[in-house]
Symmetry: C2
Subunit: 162 residues, 2 copies
Protein backbone atom coordinates (compact mmCIF):
# COMPACT_ATOMS: atom_id res chain seq x y z
CA UNK A 1 0.00 0.00 0.00
CA UNK A 2 2.86 2.40 -0.65
CA UNK A 3 3.07 3.35 -4.34
CA UNK A 4 1.34 6.47 -5.53
CA UNK A 5 -0.85 7.09 -7.44
CA UNK A 6 -3.19 4.13 -7.04
CA UNK A 7 -5.52 2.76 -9.69
CA UNK A 8 -8.69 1.54 -8.05
CA UNK A 9 -11.42 -0.54 -9.66
CA UNK A 10 -14.89 -0.29 -8.12
CA UNK A 11 -17.46 -2.96 -8.93
CA UNK A 12 -21.20 -2.84 -8.37
CA UNK A 13 -21.83 -6.56 -8.70
CA UNK A 14 -24.79 -7.69 -10.77
CA UNK A 15 -25.79 -10.64 -12.88
CA UNK A 16 -27.39 -9.05 -15.93
CA UNK A 17 -25.50 -5.77 -15.53
CA UNK A 18 -22.34 -5.29 -13.51
CA UNK A 19 -21.13 -1.69 -13.05
CA UNK A 20 -17.45 -0.78 -13.03
CA UNK A 21 -15.61 2.45 -12.31
CA UNK A 22 -11.88 3.08 -12.41
CA UNK A 23 -10.28 5.96 -10.55
CA UNK A 24 -6.68 7.01 -10.15
CA UNK A 25 -4.98 9.17 -7.54
CA UNK A 26 -4.04 9.31 -3.90
CA UNK A 27 -5.15 10.90 -0.66
CA UNK A 28 -8.38 12.79 -1.35
CA UNK A 29 -7.36 13.48 -4.92
CA UNK A 30 -8.78 10.93 -7.35
CA UNK A 31 -9.98 11.35 -10.90
CA UNK A 32 -12.11 9.04 -13.02
CA UNK A 33 -10.34 7.07 -15.76
CA UNK A 34 -13.39 5.28 -17.09
CA UNK A 35 -16.70 3.78 -16.09
CA UNK A 36 -19.29 1.51 -17.65
CA UNK A 37 -21.19 -1.74 -17.32
CA UNK A 38 -20.48 -5.33 -18.19
CA UNK A 39 -23.61 -7.01 -19.45
CA UNK A 40 -24.48 -10.65 -20.02
CA UNK A 41 -26.68 -12.14 -22.67
CA UNK A 42 -30.24 -12.76 -21.53
CA UNK A 43 -31.19 -16.30 -22.48
CA UNK A 44 -27.64 -17.65 -22.37
CA UNK A 45 -26.95 -20.55 -20.07
CA UNK A 46 -26.16 -19.52 -16.53
CA UNK A 47 -22.57 -20.81 -16.60
CA UNK A 48 -21.94 -18.93 -19.83
CA UNK A 49 -23.17 -15.66 -18.37
CA UNK A 50 -20.75 -16.10 -15.47
CA UNK A 51 -17.97 -16.73 -17.98
CA UNK A 52 -18.92 -13.60 -19.96
CA UNK A 53 -18.51 -11.52 -16.80
CA UNK A 54 -15.21 -13.24 -16.01
CA UNK A 55 -13.83 -12.46 -19.48
CA UNK A 56 -14.97 -8.84 -19.39
CA UNK A 57 -13.53 -8.42 -15.91
CA UNK A 58 -10.18 -9.88 -16.99
CA UNK A 59 -10.10 -7.52 -20.00
CA UNK A 60 -10.66 -4.54 -17.70
CA UNK A 61 -7.85 -5.66 -15.39
CA UNK A 62 -5.53 -6.20 -18.36
CA UNK A 63 -6.29 -2.83 -19.87
CA UNK A 64 -6.27 -0.59 -16.78
CA UNK A 65 -3.97 -2.53 -14.41
CA UNK A 66 -5.69 -1.58 -11.16
CA UNK A 67 -3.99 -2.67 -7.94
CA UNK A 68 -7.12 -2.57 -5.78
CA UNK A 69 -10.61 -3.97 -6.23
CA UNK A 70 -13.40 -2.40 -4.19
CA UNK A 71 -16.62 -4.40 -4.25
CA UNK A 72 -19.92 -3.97 -2.50
CA UNK A 73 -21.06 -6.52 0.05
CA UNK A 74 -24.41 -8.08 -0.50
CA UNK A 75 -27.45 -7.58 1.64
CA UNK A 76 -30.76 -9.24 1.10
CA UNK A 77 -33.39 -7.11 -0.43
CA UNK A 78 -36.48 -8.43 -2.15
CA UNK A 79 -35.39 -11.55 -3.93
CA UNK A 80 -33.15 -14.21 -2.46
CA UNK A 81 -32.86 -15.81 -5.90
CA UNK A 82 -31.41 -12.58 -7.23
CA UNK A 83 -29.13 -12.26 -4.22
CA UNK A 84 -27.71 -15.72 -4.82
CA UNK A 85 -27.00 -14.96 -8.48
CA UNK A 86 -25.28 -11.72 -7.54
CA UNK A 87 -23.25 -13.62 -4.93
CA UNK A 88 -22.10 -16.00 -7.66
CA UNK A 89 -20.86 -13.03 -9.68
CA UNK A 90 -19.14 -11.63 -6.59
CA UNK A 91 -17.36 -14.96 -6.13
CA UNK A 92 -16.11 -14.98 -9.72
CA UNK A 93 -14.87 -11.40 -9.48
CA UNK A 94 -13.11 -11.76 -6.14
CA UNK A 95 -11.42 -15.00 -7.20
CA UNK A 96 -10.13 -13.39 -10.39
CA UNK A 97 -8.95 -10.34 -8.46
CA UNK A 98 -7.01 -12.63 -6.11
CA UNK A 99 -5.54 -14.48 -9.09
CA UNK A 100 -4.33 -11.17 -10.58
CA UNK A 101 -2.80 -10.10 -7.26
CA UNK A 102 -5.19 -7.25 -6.50
CA UNK A 103 -5.95 -6.21 -2.96
CA UNK A 104 -9.66 -6.50 -2.25
CA UNK A 105 -11.70 -4.12 -0.13
CA UNK A 106 -15.31 -5.00 0.62
CA UNK A 107 -17.62 -2.14 1.47
CA UNK A 108 -21.15 -2.03 2.83
CA UNK A 109 -23.90 -0.04 1.08
CA UNK A 110 -24.26 2.37 4.02
CA UNK A 111 -20.48 2.92 4.09
CA UNK A 112 -20.66 3.94 0.44
CA UNK A 113 -23.48 6.39 1.12
CA UNK A 114 -21.61 7.80 4.11
CA UNK A 115 -18.34 8.17 2.20
CA UNK A 116 -19.93 9.90 -0.77
CA UNK A 117 -22.56 12.11 0.88
CA UNK A 118 -21.68 12.09 4.58
CA UNK A 119 -25.08 10.56 5.26
CA UNK A 120 -25.60 6.79 5.59
CA UNK A 121 -29.16 6.89 4.30
CA UNK A 122 -28.66 9.11 1.26
CA UNK A 123 -30.99 8.40 -1.67
CA UNK A 124 -29.99 7.58 -5.24
CA UNK A 125 -30.35 11.18 -6.50
CA UNK A 126 -28.17 12.59 -3.71
CA UNK A 127 -25.55 9.93 -4.42
CA UNK A 128 -25.49 10.61 -8.14
CA UNK A 129 -25.23 14.37 -7.67
CA UNK A 130 -22.26 13.91 -5.32
CA UNK A 131 -20.51 11.55 -7.74
CA UNK A 132 -20.97 14.17 -10.46
CA UNK A 133 -19.42 16.81 -8.16
CA UNK A 134 -16.58 14.66 -6.81
CA UNK A 135 -15.31 13.70 -10.25
CA UNK A 136 -16.20 16.97 -12.00
CA UNK A 137 -18.60 15.45 -14.53
CA UNK A 138 -20.93 17.75 -16.45
CA UNK A 139 -23.73 15.20 -16.19
CA UNK A 140 -24.56 12.41 -13.78
CA UNK A 141 -22.66 9.36 -15.11
CA UNK A 142 -24.91 6.81 -16.78
CA UNK A 143 -26.00 4.10 -16.42
CA UNK A 144 -26.74 4.03 -12.70
CA UNK A 145 -24.64 0.89 -12.17
CA UNK A 146 -21.56 2.75 -13.45
CA UNK A 147 -22.20 5.70 -11.12
CA UNK A 148 -22.65 3.25 -8.25
CA UNK A 149 -19.36 1.58 -9.11
CA UNK A 150 -17.57 4.95 -9.02
CA UNK A 151 -19.10 5.59 -5.60
CA UNK A 152 -17.82 2.20 -4.47
CA UNK A 153 -14.33 2.91 -5.82
CA UNK A 154 -14.31 6.30 -4.08
CA UNK A 155 -15.32 4.69 -0.79
CA UNK A 156 -12.45 2.24 -1.03
CA UNK A 157 -10.05 5.07 -1.87
CA UNK A 158 -11.03 6.76 1.39
CA UNK A 159 -10.16 3.64 3.34
CA UNK A 160 -6.57 3.42 2.14
CA UNK A 161 -3.79 4.12 4.61
CA UNK A 162 -1.11 6.46 3.32
Amino acid sequence: MSTYPKIILGIDPGYGRCGFGIIKGGGADFFCITHGVMTTKVGSEHKDRLLEIAEDFESIIDKYQPSILVIEELFFSKSTTTALKVAEVRGVIMMLAARSGLDVIEVKPNEVKMAVTGYGKADKIQMQEMIKTIFGFEEVPKPDDAADALAIAWTGAGMLKY
Copy 2:
Protein backbone atom coordinates in the same frame (compact mmCIF):
# COMPACT_ATOMS: atom_id res chain seq x y z
CA MET B 1 -24.07 -35.94 -25.41
CA SER B 2 -23.03 -38.82 -27.62
CA THR B 3 -19.65 -40.25 -26.57
CA TYR B 4 -19.59 -43.13 -24.17
CA PRO B 5 -18.51 -43.61 -21.42
CA LYS B 6 -18.97 -40.25 -19.75
CA ILE B 7 -16.85 -38.85 -16.92
CA ILE B 8 -19.04 -36.87 -14.57
CA LEU B 9 -17.86 -34.57 -11.79
CA GLY B 10 -20.30 -33.98 -8.93
CA ILE B 11 -19.74 -31.02 -6.63
CA ASP B 12 -21.29 -30.40 -3.22
CA PRO B 13 -20.47 -26.70 -3.02
CA GLY B 14 -19.11 -25.34 0.23
CA TYR B 15 -16.84 -22.57 1.40
CA GLY B 16 -14.67 -24.25 4.03
CA ARG B 17 -15.14 -27.72 2.56
CA CYS B 18 -16.29 -28.50 -0.95
CA GLY B 19 -17.06 -32.15 -1.76
CA PHE B 20 -16.24 -33.71 -5.11
CA GLY B 21 -17.03 -37.08 -6.63
CA ILE B 22 -16.06 -38.39 -10.04
CA ILE B 23 -17.91 -41.21 -11.73
CA LYS B 24 -17.53 -42.84 -15.12
CA GLY B 25 -19.91 -44.89 -17.21
CA GLY B 26 -23.13 -44.70 -19.15
CA GLY B 27 -26.80 -45.61 -18.85
CA ALA B 28 -27.35 -46.97 -15.35
CA ASP B 29 -23.82 -48.31 -15.14
CA PHE B 30 -21.44 -45.90 -13.43
CA PHE B 31 -18.47 -46.57 -11.18
CA CYS B 32 -16.63 -44.22 -8.87
CA ILE B 33 -13.20 -43.02 -9.99
CA THR B 34 -12.44 -40.90 -6.95
CA HIS B 35 -13.99 -38.69 -4.32
CA GLY B 36 -12.81 -36.24 -1.71
CA VAL B 37 -13.04 -32.68 -0.44
CA MET B 38 -11.36 -29.43 -1.35
CA THR B 39 -10.70 -27.40 1.76
CA THR B 40 -9.74 -23.77 2.27
CA LYS B 41 -7.53 -22.29 4.91
CA VAL B 42 -9.46 -20.87 7.86
CA GLY B 43 -8.19 -17.38 8.57
CA SER B 44 -7.09 -16.70 5.00
CA GLU B 45 -8.56 -13.68 3.28
CA HIS B 46 -11.88 -14.35 1.63
CA LYS B 47 -10.62 -13.75 -1.92
CA ASP B 48 -7.72 -16.14 -1.32
CA ARG B 49 -10.04 -18.90 -0.14
CA LEU B 50 -12.06 -18.52 -3.35
CA LEU B 51 -8.81 -18.75 -5.32
CA GLU B 52 -7.78 -21.90 -3.41
CA ILE B 53 -11.02 -23.57 -4.46
CA ALA B 54 -10.57 -22.38 -8.04
CA GLU B 55 -7.07 -23.86 -8.22
CA ASP B 56 -8.12 -27.17 -6.68
CA PHE B 57 -11.09 -27.37 -9.01
CA GLU B 58 -8.90 -26.71 -12.05
CA SER B 59 -6.48 -29.42 -10.93
CA ILE B 60 -9.33 -31.91 -10.67
CA ILE B 61 -10.56 -31.02 -14.16
CA ASP B 62 -7.03 -31.30 -15.57
CA LYS B 63 -6.43 -34.65 -13.93
CA TYR B 64 -9.74 -36.42 -14.57
CA GLN B 65 -11.03 -34.62 -17.70
CA PRO B 66 -14.73 -34.80 -16.91
CA SER B 67 -17.12 -33.59 -19.61
CA ILE B 68 -20.01 -32.85 -17.28
CA LEU B 69 -20.28 -30.92 -14.02
CA VAL B 70 -23.23 -31.66 -11.77
CA ILE B 71 -23.66 -29.14 -8.98
CA GLU B 72 -26.29 -28.72 -6.31
CA GLU B 73 -28.54 -25.68 -6.32
CA LEU B 74 -28.63 -23.64 -3.18
CA PHE B 75 -31.54 -23.26 -0.84
CA PHE B 76 -31.61 -21.10 2.21
CA SER B 77 -31.26 -22.90 5.46
CA LYS B 78 -30.24 -21.28 8.70
CA SER B 79 -27.69 -18.72 7.79
CA THR B 80 -27.99 -16.34 4.86
CA THR B 81 -24.37 -15.31 5.36
CA THR B 82 -23.32 -18.90 4.81
CA ALA B 83 -25.63 -19.21 1.81
CA LEU B 84 -24.05 -16.18 0.17
CA LYS B 85 -20.54 -17.55 0.67
CA VAL B 86 -21.54 -20.89 -0.80
CA ALA B 87 -23.13 -19.05 -3.74
CA GLU B 88 -19.81 -17.30 -4.34
CA VAL B 89 -18.12 -20.70 -4.52
CA ARG B 90 -20.82 -21.97 -6.89
CA GLY B 91 -20.18 -18.98 -9.14
CA VAL B 92 -16.45 -19.67 -9.28
CA ILE B 93 -16.99 -23.36 -10.04
CA MET B 94 -19.62 -22.86 -12.73
CA MET B 95 -17.58 -20.16 -14.45
CA LEU B 96 -14.49 -22.39 -14.52
CA ALA B 97 -16.56 -25.31 -15.80
CA ALA B 98 -17.85 -23.11 -18.63
CA ARG B 99 -14.29 -22.00 -19.40
CA SER B 100 -13.16 -25.63 -19.66
CA GLY B 101 -16.07 -26.49 -21.94
CA LEU B 102 -17.96 -28.74 -19.53
CA ASP B 103 -21.71 -29.13 -19.70
CA VAL B 104 -23.30 -28.09 -16.44
CA ILE B 105 -26.30 -29.74 -14.81
CA GLU B 106 -27.82 -28.12 -11.73
CA VAL B 107 -29.77 -30.38 -9.40
CA LYS B 108 -32.02 -29.65 -6.45
CA PRO B 109 -31.46 -31.33 -3.07
CA ASN B 110 -34.78 -33.21 -3.27
CA GLU B 111 -33.94 -34.43 -6.79
CA VAL B 112 -30.71 -35.88 -5.41
CA LYS B 113 -32.57 -37.67 -2.62
CA MET B 114 -35.14 -38.97 -5.08
CA ALA B 115 -32.53 -40.19 -7.56
CA VAL B 116 -30.47 -41.98 -4.94
CA THR B 117 -33.12 -43.45 -2.63
CA GLY B 118 -36.40 -43.09 -4.56
CA TYR B 119 -37.66 -40.88 -1.75
CA GLY B 120 -37.41 -37.06 -1.86
CA LYS B 121 -37.18 -36.68 1.90
CA ALA B 122 -34.58 -39.34 2.64
CA ASP B 123 -32.30 -38.64 5.59
CA LYS B 124 -28.52 -38.52 5.58
CA ILE B 125 -28.06 -42.12 6.76
CA GLN B 126 -30.37 -43.51 4.08
CA MET B 127 -28.51 -41.50 1.46
CA GLN B 128 -25.11 -42.68 2.58
CA GLU B 129 -26.16 -46.32 2.69
CA MET B 130 -27.51 -46.09 -0.85
CA ILE B 131 -24.33 -44.44 -2.11
CA LYS B 132 -22.35 -47.28 -0.55
CA THR B 133 -24.58 -49.81 -2.31
CA ILE B 134 -24.71 -48.05 -5.71
CA PHE B 135 -20.95 -47.81 -6.01
CA GLY B 136 -20.14 -51.07 -4.22
CA PHE B 137 -18.10 -49.52 -1.41
CA GLU B 138 -17.32 -51.59 1.67
CA GLU B 139 -17.86 -48.58 3.89
CA VAL B 140 -19.85 -45.37 3.61
CA PRO B 141 -17.54 -42.93 1.81
CA LYS B 142 -16.10 -40.27 4.06
CA PRO B 143 -16.23 -37.38 4.63
CA ASP B 144 -19.94 -36.66 4.22
CA ASP B 145 -19.31 -33.91 1.64
CA ALA B 146 -17.62 -36.46 -0.63
CA ALA B 147 -20.52 -38.90 -0.31
CA ASP B 148 -22.91 -36.04 -1.07
CA ALA B 149 -20.90 -35.13 -4.16
CA LEU B 150 -21.12 -38.72 -5.42
CA ALA B 151 -24.89 -38.60 -4.89
CA ILE B 152 -25.00 -35.37 -6.89
CA ALA B 153 -22.91 -36.88 -9.71
CA TRP B 154 -25.16 -39.96 -9.78
CA THR B 155 -28.25 -37.75 -10.01
CA GLY B 156 -26.81 -35.92 -12.99
CA ALA B 157 -25.89 -39.23 -14.62
CA GLY B 158 -29.54 -40.27 -14.43
CA MET B 159 -30.59 -37.10 -16.26
CA LEU B 160 -28.43 -37.70 -19.33
CA LYS B 161 -30.13 -38.54 -22.60
CA TYR B 162 -28.52 -41.39 -24.49
